[in-house]
Symmetry: C2
Subunit: 167 residues, 2 copies
């Protein structure tokens, strides 16, 4: 996603307001703060996964496959759930297959479809990474009180349902 380590100071924002008078300085600063913090969260997650030789795209595929009854799903379904295009999913599966974490199986009834199956090596990888992931996410969130956690989720969901306001 993005970045911006150096959040705009109020002073430099005032300069921008002088140039663009209609700006809601607080809103901009708040928006930038949210993006900046979550960018850092995403980077921290990347590091965690990287320690296990994974990256976010590949990670979510493994987790989704583990949820399936027979550890199997289709590229299209995975792409839909993760929110990437089918083309991107092809690349992810290429990488996972290269490392032996998933396998491509043909579909018996529909010649167009593939079945992506978590291999036993993939299961082992999850058994290695998931506890670490759970422990660290738990540690992160534990710095917030129950009330703070409930409130931030509620507020984020409100923001999420109003993203159309940016269109």
């Amino acid at each position: 996603m993005l970045l911006l380590k150096d959040l705009p100071s109020t002073n430099s924002l005032l300069k921008l307001v002088a140039r663009y008078p209609d700006a809601d300085v607080n809103a901009i600063q708040e928006f930038a703060t949210i993006l900046s913090v979550t960018s850092d969260l995403s980077v921290a997650l990347d590091k965690l996964l990287n320690d296990h030789g994974l990256m976010q795209g590949r990670w979510w595929i493994l987790v989704l496959l583990l949820r399936e009854d027979n550890l199997t799903s289709s590229p299209s379904a995975l792409a839909e759930k993760i929110g990437v295009t089918k083309a991107t999913m092809t690349g992810f599966i290429d990488g996972l297959q290269r490392e032996g974490l998933v396998s491509r199986l043909t579909h018996d009834e529909d010649g167009r479809k593939l079945q992506i199956k978590l291999t036993s090596l993939g299961e082992e990888k999850l058994d290695e990474v998931v506890p670490d992931y759970y422990r660290k996410v738990g540690a992160l969130m534990s710095v917030l009180t129950e009330a703070q956690r409930a409130t931030i989720i509620e507020t984020m969901k409100i923001l999420g349902t109003n993203i159309d306001a940016m269109k």
Copy 2:
């Protein structure tokens, strides 16, 4: 950043807990929600910028340059502030220069350094995009009350200062 349109249902999380008993299900679900919503925010910002032929990396460079007194900064300083590597910055500047929005000037005293300067075309581009950006970010944030805005920022900052908990 990442994705995950299809947030883990509590049911499928229970299956994970059966496999990994120590997991804090709430923490995981909350973490995923935060990442998911901000991913959507980032996508919305991408769209906004894309309407003006920009992308996030290039956008922040222009904004940072506008803040400078003489509309000038160095690649290293820009990379530092935005939070990308110098190599990435080289690519960004290549693109912006190709489009005539910034120019590379040599540094008088230090032969290693460059001065990246916002061109008049770059200023015109900002005058076109910034008001739109401000208006839409303002519209997004306006769906929250003052109290909600204050609280989410405070909570985000707490999370941000405790990212080391994930290490």
